[in-house]
């Protein structure tokens, strides 16, 4: 289908047509040295905040948050970042970085709450945010016009409990980790359907909301909640999982998906499930897409694999480490921890060094946003 026909068709089907440009999409996916990073955190008294820092570790903006934050997405063109509150949070904060970190609060629709992740379209005109239609128990992607961050529409996530999402290299397809776990805000974070959860990795056309393709793991593995994921420049998706079943079960924790091929399950000596204590935190590719790193704050470890061969490169012990981001250098990752450290991990050599001195009064939260 050519693009013109598509747009006409989409406009007929939905009130809104997200902006799309292949050039912008390519630009957004071109490996480059990040301009900076941001992460959510808690201080020693348990107050929540989000903070930016430059690629060499110098502190940037800092805003207080009314509830615990999760991930942060940077606008592709403007000096602006959106901080997503952690599920079942109901606020997003739009940070005007140029104005010294002044933030505007955006509230969830009363019958929706956020899961903690979102992505911009390549041109930055729209943003897709994973949300819970909790009375119906279905996942949706809220679509926001970034001019005023008004919520203009939504599309289904094609699963329950959508968590992280990313753009595919075409700039238009979204890949979504539907964790499969039903929750309701009146019950806090309680899991309501562990026995019959059906997680999926859904590829969804952002313009029509149609599901193009979905990956599910075979039946005995249905308690593996698909949560965090990343996409490299070649379109390979890496996703990390969290296991809700018996601790004695031997299960995969991480998989790679390329095109329509079956998922490749990543392995490690002794088992990734043991190494990661059945729980993965962040999953990210390095800037070249050649390596993928996965953190486990419960296993206090970051594991690294080579994408093409799926070979285990090795792991780095890192207490309470969870946040991961690619730097501009091949094989290098930024690692943040609940113990306040920000470290660089050189994946091929498995060496780490502090990007800046750890502030022990800061507890870095699950993820790092990359500008």
């Amino acid at each position: 289908m050519n693009r013109r026909r598509f747009l006409i068709g989409a406009a007929g089907a939905a009130a809104f047509v997200p902006s799309f440009s292949a050039t912008l999409a390519r630009a957004a996916l071109t490996p480059a040295r990040p301009r900076g990073y941001a992460a959510c955190a808690a201080d020693a008294d348990g107050n929540f905040f989000a903070a930016g820092f430059s690629a060499d570790g110098a502190p940037g903006f800092r805003i207080d948050l009314p509830e615990r934050g999760h991930d942060i997405a940077f606008h592709p063109a403007r000096a602006e970042a959106v901080v997503f509150s952690r599920r079942p949070g109901v606020t997003m904060h739009v940070v005007d970085i140029a104005a010294g970190g002044r933030a505007r609060e955006i509230e969830a629709r009363p019958d929706r709450h956020f899961y903690g992740h979102g992505v911009f379209t390549p041109d930055g005109r729209h943003m897709f945010v994973t949300e819970n239609d909790f009375e119906a128990g279905r996942g949706v992607l809220g679509i926001y016009d970034t001019k005023g961050y008004r919520r203009i529409d939504e599309i289904p996530s094609h699963g329950v409990g959508p968590h992280q999402l990313r753009r595919m290299p075409d700039g238009r397809t979204l890949v979504i980790g539907n964790g499969g776990i039903r929750t309701h805000p009146d019950l806090g974070r309680a899991k309501l359907n562990v026995e019959d959860m059906k997680p999926s990795l859904a590829f969804v056309d952002s313009q029509t909301g149609r599901r193009l393709h979905a990956v599910r793991l075979p039946e005995p593995l249905h308690k593996l909640s698909i949560r965090h994921l990343d996409v490299n420049g070649a379109g390979t998706v890496a996703f990390g999982m969290q296991y809700e079943g018996d601790r004695r079960d031997r299960v995969p924790m991480i998989a790679l998906v390329t095109g329509g091929a079956a998922p490749r399950l990543l392995k490690a000596p002794g088992g990734v499930d043991h190494m990661m204590r059945h729980y993965t935190g962040s999953t990210v590719f390095d800037s070249s897409g050649r390596y993928v790193a996965v953190s486990s704050p419960r296993g206090h470890v970051v594991g690294v694999w080579e994408t093409r061969s799926a070979d285990f490169v090795g792991n780095v012990k890192a207490r309470d480490a969870c946040g991961l981001a690619a730097t501009g250098k091949t094989g290098e990752f930024l690692v943040t921890s609940g113990d306040g450290s920000i470290r660089l991990c050189d994946a091929p050599g498995l060496r780490t060094r502090e990007l800046r001195a750890a502030d022990r009064s800061v507890h870095w939260d699950n993820h790092i946003g990359v500008a």
């Binding site: 348990g46 009146d186 004695r248 935190g281 704050p297 309470d320």
Partner: protein, 351 residues
């Protein structure tokens, strides 16, 4: 204090030479049998008594039966507050913890649903088993308290409250059964050492206990004290206090602190394991501080809902908050370190 004492404990912990390791399996057994199961048994007994007192009040409404129901409610709430720190196991099955107490109710769901139920006098709610599958906002002790204190003269409200008390007695009995039955959670804790469905080893099970202590302190600090306190007297919010209708918000905090103290002081508990790890003074200090904090909460001369706005009493609440923050620092750092347990920020509660 206590701030100085907390600092001294931090220093003691820092300069002490390394010693033997704690016995996680012994800790798990001690806390299961010495703290957790007795707390749930008490919850089962007091909620059964609440059911009986509620039925008696509906059968013969009088000032005497009303007072008896209020006293029974106080005992059941005490028992729940004592058990609440345990944040894993059967109390999490089917969101039982939220069904026992749906609080804080930030969206006002309880107010809305109770008003609707009372206006419609829905017969299904008060029929046998009628609360099963209903909203958590209608099932728990907060709604019981509201019906007892705000709608004492309403005969339907009395039957509604009785239905809640019955439901609560059933939940508590089920929790006791799920811990103590063959193949129950007591066995899960005691067999963790060999690896089982829940835990890879005894240390992982012990981590659940220490996380429970840390999470309980978080809840006391963030929800039970800071929310009603607000940033200042003018900014305080008395009805954000837990159990404000019965005026027992601070007793709730004290009952929870009693449980945390017990988890340290019970034979084989955290104090003994800290001693085994060569950090005896730290364990002794923790027991002392929990005891002092509970006493301080009980010594505040006004209900929390009034104390937060009272010029002379508010500082006592702020002091209690400081004390709990000090205890949290100790639990998360030296206590966890000495026990060889990591209660990380991300590992504690990820997403």
């Amino acid at each position: 204090m206590r701030t100085l004492f907390v600092l001294s404990l931090l220093v003691i912990a820092a300069v002490r030479p390394a010693a033997a390791a704690p016995d996680y399996a012994a800790l798990n057994r001690a806390l299961t049998d010495g703290a957790v199961i007795p707390a749930y048994r008490s919850l089962a007994e007091t909620t059964a008594a609440l059911r009986d007192a509620s039925e008696a009040r509906c059968d013969a409404a009088s000032p005497a039966t009303l007072e008896a129901a209020k006293a029974a409610f106080g005992r059941a709430m005490d028992a729940w507050q004592h058990a609440q720190p345990v944040s894993f196991g059967p109390v999490k099955t089917d969101s039982r913890d939220v069904r026992i107490e749906f609080w804080p109710d930030k969206r006002g769901t309880g107010t809305r649903q109770v008003r609707r139920a009372l206006a419609a006098k829905q017969p299904d709610l008060v029929a046998p088993g009628g609360l099963k599958g209903k909203s958590v906002a209608l099932q728990g002790l907060v709604t019981y308290e509201r019906l007892l204190y705000d709608h004492a003269d309403d005969a339907y409200a009395c039957r509604f409250a009785t239905a809640i008390a019955r439901f609560q007695a059933e939940i508590a009995a089920a929790i006791v059964a799920d811990w103590t039955k063959t193949g129950g959670y007591r066995e899960t804790m005691l067999t963790a050492g060999g690896g089982n469905a829940q835990y890879a080893d005894a240390k992982e099970a012990a981590t659940d206990f220490l996380k429970s202590v840390a999470t309980a302190l978080d809840r006391m600090i963030d929800q039970k004290l800071e929310r009603p306190l607000g940033d200042s007297r003018a900014d305080s919010f008395g009805t954000r206090a837990e159990s404000w209708r019965s005026g027992r918000s601070l007793e709730n905090v004290a009952a929870g602190l009693d449980m945390l103290g017990l988890m340290f002081s019970t034979p084989g508990g955290f104090r003994d394991q800290l001693a085994a790890a060569g950090a005896g003074p730290l364990g002794d200090g923790m027991v002392r501080l929990f005891g002092e904090a509970a006493a301080a909460a009980r010594a505040i001369p006004l209900p929390l809902s009034k104390a937060v706005a009272d010029e002379t009493v508010r500082p006592q609440v702020e002091k209690l908050l400081d004390d709990l923050q000090g205890l949290r620092t100790l639990v998360r750092n030296p206590v966890a370190d000495e026990l060889g347990i990591v209660i990380g920020f991300n590992s504690l509660d990820g997403d």
